[in-house]
Symmetry: C2
């Protein structure tokens, strides 16, 4: 069990462990950034068991549905994915579309009255602006 945390993780969510699915999960867990489906496709195929595009998308859908992976929609660009490790918020760059993590802190929930009959599953806080690479260097003044 301890030798393979990923397999346990998949089994615990009722997902069969296949080389392709395992590779996607392993890649996302060791990855610091927030790759797109195509980037994941290329990365896992660079190693070995060749995964088709459909398999990557299928597995990402299943992993998101199982709550192991988070999908971040970015307007005008491909969605990005990350393994749900430590809780965190997301910063999306206006300029390059990159997604970066921001330390997690608690967010106040809305008043019951403004939710009405809606069933709240989660609150997501997204920051927008210029990411580390796109922000202008500070100029002494």
């Amino acid at each position: 069990m301890q030798p393979d945390a990923i397999k346990r993780c998949l089994a615990g969510s009722g997902l069969r462990s296949t080389p392709q699915r395992y590779a996607v999960m392993a890649f996302l867990m060791k990855q610091a950034g927030h790759p797109t489906a195509v980037e994941i496709f290329e990365a896992v195929n660079r190693v070995d068991p060749r995964s088709s595009r459909a398999t990557i998308y299928n597995n990402l859908r299943d992993l998101v549905h199982a709550g192991l992976v988070r999908e971040v929609a970015v307007e005008g660009r491909a969605a990005r994915f990350d393994a749900k490790g430590m809780r965190h918020h997301h910063f999306i760059c206006d300029r390059c579309g990159n997604v970066e993590d921001v330390d997690w802190y608690d967010v106040p929930r809305p008043a019951a009255a403004s939710l009405g009959r809606r069933v709240l599953r989660e609150c997501e806080l997204i920051f927008r602006g210029l990411c580390t690479r796109c922000a202008p260097r500070r100029v002494s003044r």
Copy 2:
């Protein structure tokens, strides 16, 4: 809201007032929901000056860039748009993808340390779950 207000609004953002652009803005301002680009395309063309798909997308891009309209990316679905009227948060339905408004309340900003060199423009709070139509009806009353 008088028709002139829209023209002033556009001019104030350095945007020329054209029948097509005006129609997009007018539609979004009188619209309670969060239509997709295609829905806007169909709605404004149902009235009169025929707008091409490209014009709808161009104008939406310009209006978003001018800060008059907000774009909401929804994973796996088309983006949705609304005129920035009163500040509000968004609720995205897990099941149908609909976007609904939630009363606005202030969100605490992250600590400067966790932003680093990043330039923060805005904080966006997104709620997820089941929308009014998709939530199961309450049994007891």
